[in-house]
Each structure stands twice: as structure tokens, then as C-alpha cells.
Symmetry: C2
Subunit: 219 residues, 2 copies
DNA sequence: CAGTTGCTGATTGTTGACAAAATACAATAT
DNA sequence: ATATTGTATTTTGTCAACAATCAGCAACTG
């Protein structure tokens, strides 16, 4: 018998697909902050009933992307840059530090190669001015670190903040100094390569500061 | 015309009540970790249809209290003490520090009185061995601080971790040194009374340290 | 007897219809 | 004209029926 095996079939329910599509539409800016979400509209556009739509709304509400007012309406959330910078970003760095500290031994050549590729892609994206791709790569870089962990709480917490962060970046990307993005992440990756926890912590903290300073209008 | 006005009627939808009741049942331990949630059972017990139940499940899933396996089952989540201590608790302290720092001017006599009452209740609860009440008071103490803030992100983030923390405490309360609980919070409150940010930060960090934790948001 | 295949009942996923509530707007009264 | 009330329409909330999927077990095959 051959060694061939079929790939596990993704058992995605309709509600999951709806959730993902709706989330994408929000993050892409097709449904900008303040947009009203009418269940029937979405349902008709997607060709499904309102049930899955409503369940998706409950999830996205908890992800901070939607605001739901009982018996009235649900709208796309608006995010305050200050809150993202001072609350969500520090949480991201906290989890990241926790993971790197605990899974230092998982930092191997395969990991470095993957991260380096992301950083290289960043340079390309900057040169070509692909801003939304740059946001994706930034998220991907940090998520790849968190994926070293096996703790369920790591990804759960990440998911509860990542989409707000992404929405924030997408919205404000034009205010950021794109040129620094590649270098900042390269520095972080270089610190990982040393496997020196002290240096890594310094680099993570510096990354937090530099992200802070990316915003032209802070302070 | 009189100045009398009616209190705004709480317009709670069925799904909200279901969500709250289900959450309470989990936090009370009536549905211990691992318990399977059968939609129809819950629906019949509550006398509602499955719709609201399913929406509640999606919310509680995002709150980290339920695990849902598509087409199979949803069960009450089990929490690892280590993850709560090293990931969720530091997040709590981070938000707390953010709020205290920013809303220092809201620390007034009314606030102190409210917090002191909670601490006093803690002593009473310890003496009478009311463990679940003690957990409630601990949560309440910290939540009252966060309520000083107006930022939506503060409460949203808090809600995404508080129930996991509560579940953890409820489960492991017997392992904790109850006698210290009143003193630890009294110290924290006393620090707030000084309105000295340096002292307050020290106190918050000490509160965290008393749970044997390292923190990375300090500089 | 091991291993596969096909049933059966239980449970979750989805739907369309109906009920309740909110909004917009016309009608009315002052 | 302005403010209030009533009404129509839209939208959200809830329900009960139906479809898809799964776990367990019996029947079959070699």
C-alpha cells in the first residue's frame, strides 16, 4: 500500500465561513467603523439564513470588532489609537515575551528562515507601497512567534486582541513610518538569533517603543 | 412638573439572560470543566429554544469558558493554573496599572470608601470561611479599579480574561493562603491613598509578586 | 476473529416563519 | 409652527422543523 494519505478535510461549518468572511470585510475596510450590520442584508449577500450570521456577530462582538445594541443594531467598532497603543500592544508584547522565554529551545534554523522570509517580504512590500500587505506581514511575524507555544490561552488571548490591532494598523497605516518597519523586525529577529534572553527582552521592549514612536501624532 | 424620572428599563434580550445564567453555572462549578453542554438539555431546562443558547455558546467560547468542536460537542474549558498565573494575571495587572496611572485624579474619598468596604468584607469572609464570596470580592476589588476608566478597550479586555481568572480561583481557592488576601488588598488600597504613582506601582508589582510572578511591562 | 461496512439514535447545524421592538414619518392637536 | 400621538415599515429576537454529522453498535466479509 502506498504511503499517500489524504489531507484532513476542513470541517468548517457555515457559521465559521461567515465569521471569517465578515471579519475579513471589516479588516479590509469594506465595512468601515460605524457601518451598520443588517443581518438580512449580509444573509442575502452570502446566500445563507440569519442564524449563522447572528452567531458570527456574537463572536466578532467578543473580538472587539462589532458593537451590538439589543433590539437596535450592531455596528462596526471604532478604535481609539491611544487604547491600542497603551493597552493592546503591551499585551501583545507581554504574551510574546512569555512565549519566547518559555520556548527558547524552539528557536531553530527552520524558525529563523521562516521569520527572515517575512522580513524580506516586508522590504518588498515597502518598496512597492503595498500597505495592507505590510500590515499582514507585521501580524504574521508576531503570530508566528506565538505559534511556538502550545498553551491554549496564548492563542485565545492573541485572537481577542489581534483583530483590533490589525484594524487599527489598517486604518492608520498612512501615519506610520514604513521605512522603519523592515529594520525594526530585522533587529528583533537578529536578537532571537542570539538566543540570549537578556538581549531578546531588550529587543522586544525596544520594539514596543519604536512602534510607539511610529505614530507621527503621539505625545 | 416634578423632577422625578423613571429608571431606564433594562432591555435584556433572552440571549443575554441565557449567557449570564450559563456563565454563572460554569463559574459556580455546577458545570465543572469537561462537562458537555447539550444545547437541547439547556434549552429545555431554561424553557427557551436553541437559538439563544447557541448565541450564548459563541460568546462564552470567546470568553474562554467553553470549547466548541464543530458538529461534535461543546464542553466546559479546563484551565491550566500556570497559564492563568503567567499570562492572564499579568494582563490584569497591566490594565490596572494603565488605569490607575491615567485616572489618578479619580481616586477620591468615595472611591476609597468603596474599596475599603470590599477589603473589610474580605476579612469577614475569611473568618467565616466563605471561599466563593472571597473570590467574588477579589474580582470586585480589581474590577472597581478598572471601572474608573472610560476606554471601551479596558472593560472589553477585562471581560475577555476575568471569567477565566474567576474560574481558576474558584477551582483552586483551597490552595491559596486566605489569610494574606485581606492584608494584600489593604496594602494595595493604602498605596492608592498616597496618590504617589511610584508607591502605587510598587504596590501593584508586589501584589503581583505575591503570586510568584515575573512581569515584563516595567521599565 | 480482526477488520470493514452499513445501520441507528443522538446531537449539532441551518433554515424560514413568526413575534417583539425600534425607527421614520404622517396625522393631529394646541 | 411645534410638540405629541398614532401608524407603517424596517430590523432584530425567538422559535420549531428539517438537514447534516457523529458515535456506537450490529452485520457482514475474509
Amino acid at each position: 500500500m502506498s504511503d499517500f494519505t489524504f489531507k484532513q478535510q476542513a470541517n468548517t461549518s457555515l457559521r465559521e465561513k461567515v465569521t471569517n468572511d465578515l471579519r475579513e470585510a471589516i479588516l479590509n475596510g469594506h465595512l468601515p467603523p460605524g457601518s451598520r450590520i443588517k443581518e438580512m442584508d449580509i444573509a442575502e449577500q452570502m446566500g445563507v439564513s440569519r442564524g449563522p450570521i447572528r452567531e458570527a456577530i456574537r463572536q466578532l462582538e467578543r473580538e472587539g470588532l462589532l458593537l451590538s445594541y439589543p433590539y437596535k443594531e450592531t455596528v462596526v467598532a471604532d478604535l481609539d489609537a491611544d487604547e491600542v497603543q497603551n493597552i493592546l500592544m503591551p499585551i501583545r508584547f507581554h504574551i510574546e515575551w512569555f512565549v519566547v522565554k518559555r520556548y527558547l529551545d524552539k528557536l531553530d534554523d527552520s524558525f529563523y528562515a521562516k521569520q527572515q522570509e517575512i522580513v524580506d517580504d516586508m522590504r518588498a512590500a515597502v518598496e512597492q507601497g503595498e500597505k495592507s500587505r505590510l500590515v499582514d506581514l507585521d501580524i504574521l511575524f508576531h503570530q508566528s512567534i506565538l505559534e511556538l507555544a502550545t498553551e491554549r490561552t496564548v492563542m485565545l488571548t492573541w485572537q481577542s486582541i489581534v483583530n483590533q490591532i490589525r484594524l487599527h494598523f489598517t486604518k492608520n497605516i498612512s501615519f506610520y513610518n514604513l521605512d522603519n518597519m523592515e529594520k525594526d523586525h530585522q533587529d528583533l529577529l537578529d536578537a532571537f538569533r542570539t538566543k540570549d534572553l537578556g538581549l531578546i527582552q531588550q529587543a522586544i521592549l525596544k520594539h514596543l517603543d519604536s512602534d510607539d514612536n511610529l505614530l507621527c501624532f503621539t505625545k
